[in-house]
Amino acid sequence: MSSHAHANTPAPDTGDAVPGYYEVMETAVRELLIEKKVIGAGEIRQMLEVMDTRTPALGSKIVARAWVDPEFRARLLANGRATLEELGIDFFEDTQLIVLENTDSVHNLVVCTLCSCYPREILGLPPDWYKMKPYRARAVKEPRAVLAEFGTVIPDDVEIRVSDSTSMIRFLVLPQRPKGTEGFTEEQLAALVTRDAMIGVVRASNPEMKEKSR
């Protein structure tokens, strides 16, 4: 009987007329935890709002600031978490943030071979490919080949360092400031810093320079 009522119920704008098994499980677990007062009724909604504020734009601002402010960059590299906490960014308990600086001789790449650890506080939720097998399996074994799949070719004389994240230690790549951006404002610089550049799979680039050099 219930299945009939179900089929006739107009679907909301999700496009899914019938919720999936796991979606039902998520709703059931959440509601039971609220009924039992294990978690508060408004906590999930509040957390969703907090999560919406965590986007790669935050990371881009941090990178741009590090490019223009050597003192900030030094502090960021010395203690990522403490420096960002000064800017009001909250971190999960015990999570450390290590900022890895790209130079002319070193290119950094971040992976989580075990699961999907990621600096969510400043980049938000990771892209799917970061959580899937090919990237996790191969980044530590053949980083140059993986980078090439992202269109990033690193010269052989540049060392590639791959950092494997854990639940306690997260990494942010500080890309190199693109050439030809000397007169840029901090805001203009931030616009050049993509999420992928902060994972290390691409460089930060200045589109104007690219056009000129080709």
């Binding site: 119920t9 919720p19 959440r30 999930i44 909604r45 957390m47 969703l48 639940s167």
Partner: protein
């Protein structure tokens, strides 16, 4: 080397150094329930009920077949349920009854996180 030896040496979630195909640069708009599942993980961590590390172990404990076949947040919610049973915060029976109840409802009443879900839903429909 025996076939089972690899199962002992490498946990299902341990992927570093394995052979695999090219990186498919896939991305998807997170479904509302996936976001809620992520929020739930953060809340359970804040309440010191399930830490990030415990969550990872919970996923590992699902075994290689489920790790391979379930999607990312499907693994999470099943792992959470198992851990909550172990901690005797929930019982399997309670969850089964609640799931029946939820599945029988008109679905638009099941999202108490209304505004956020509606926003995300629109993105999904457009995509």
């Amino acid at each position: 080397m025996t076939q089972t030896e690899n199962l002992v040496k490498r946990l299902p979630t341990e992927m570093g150094g394995l052979d695999a195909g090219p990186v498919q640069r896939t991305e998807h708009e997170y479904a509302p329930w996936e976001k809620r599942c992520h929020a739930l993980a953060n809340i359970l961590d804040n309440h010191k009920i399930i830490s990030t590390e415990a969550k990872r172990r919970g996923v590992e404990a699902l075994g290689s077949e489920m790790v391979e076949k379930l999607t990312y947040y499907e693994r999470w919610i099943v792992a959470f349920a198992n851990i909550l049973f172990q901690k005797q915060i929930l019982t399997p029976e309670e969850l089964a009854i609640k799931m029946q109840e939820v599945a029988a409802r008109p679905w638009d009443e099941t999202a108490p996180c209304g505004e956020t879900s509606a926003k995300a839903d629109k993105g999904k429909t457009a995509a």
